[in-house]
Symmetry: C2
Subunit: 220 residues, 2 copies
């Protein structure tokens, strides 16, 4: 939970948390169809959420890291509408949604916070729709890398180096590309001296070049 709460509020918000739960790499935090009871605040670790079509095609809908809230897809139907898989060993705070709603009625600042988290997710997905609908492969990967380092940097990590927690296939699924296309785009960026890649390790050498690829109009 970020700033904007006083000590008294923080104490109450702490009590929303029912317990902590550890999830091993590869295991599900929740799965499609499962009854919805709680939101989860990620303490440590890294998740992907994905939906599956009736014929088995998988679409990664997001990657979530420490400090982010996961599970809001379940509110509308009281059942989860996606799978949440730990990409590394993780720990989450289980926040029964009934507790969240009860306390939200008492604390306007928490109520506003919950609304913002959901709105942020809507806006993020709008951005992904733009990527998927209008951008070419290299633009998608540039946007993806910039978004990742930005979020990691906000958590005190480097803004130029990162270790990917997901496979090329998972990146591709998120970006609407095949893993080979993702790999080729990585190689291209590397050849052009924009990034340094070694497997999951990525170092961003020329962030402006990445931004320019993501945002071609800035080229004049």
């Amino acid at each position: 939970m970020p700033v904007g709460f006083n000590a008294d509020e923080m104490k109450k918000i702490d009590e929303v948390v029912e317990k902590r739960r550890r999830i091993k790499q590869g295991e599900l935090l929740f799965s499609n169809g499962e009854t919805f009871t709680s939101l989860y605040a990620i303490r440590t670790g890294f998740f992907k959420t994905c939906v599956t079509s009736a014929d088995g095609r998988e679409q990664v809908t997001g990657f979530q890291m420490a400090g982010e809230i996961i599970g809001m897809d379940g509110i509308v139907s009281d059942h989860h509408n996606c799978n949440a898989v730990a990409l590394e060993d993780a720990e989450v705070c289980v926040m029964p949604f009934a507790n969240v709603e009860d306390l939200s009625r008492e604390l306007p600042s928490l109520q506003r916070h919950v609304h913002k988290i959901m709105s942020r997710e809507i806006v993020r997905e709008n951005g992904v729709m733009m990527l998927l609908g209008n951008m070419r492969a290299e633009e998608r990967l540039a946007a993806f890398l910039l978004n990742l380092v930005q979020r990691l940097h906000a958590r005190g990590l480097s803004q130029s180096e990162l270790v990917l927690r997901m496979t090329r296939e998972e990146i591709g699924s998120y970006l609407g590309l095949k893993l080979e296309t993702v790999s080729r785009a990585f190689s291209k960026f590397s050849e052009d001296g924009i990034i340094e890649v070694k497997q999951r390790y990525v170092k961003i050498i020329a962030p402006e070049a990445l931004k320019k690829i993501f945002n071609p109009q800035t080229c004049f």
Copy 2:
């Protein structure tokens, strides 16, 4: 506002509405960057929401019809993050979000309702991501048509006939396709006897065939 409220609650919910507002075809209900103050309940008419990339590419993120709520993208940053354009003359109820939050704290049923509306939008966008990331042109158009008639049918209209409120280009933008591709897919469906098309008018002759295209795994 749908069912699930008693008379007393309905009366209070009515008072959330500040006023009504008419929007002419082609005009903006709100636009990207504008200060966020209110959610809007569509009484009549049809809207599209769209985001624009820095270099001017437009992505339609949704089509909204009577009975739906629009504007939740603005909560996170106090500014709207997309444009909402009326595709036909429309009327909306302006619901200042401060009023919504105040009353939500008083009425748990309204609070839950607001949460569900936002969660529904998140889940809808997950589905669009699946369309954009994994489906081919005809699958996307089939899904689009089925979704439209289903929503129109829920409003008491025909489940087989509809008049499109948007151009081929807008459909294409929503589905991540060019207008020519949309047109070709319409023609293909028409040749195959699945639908009857005449400009904006569409009649669904074989809904099962559409469902089969959207959902190829059901073919055994």
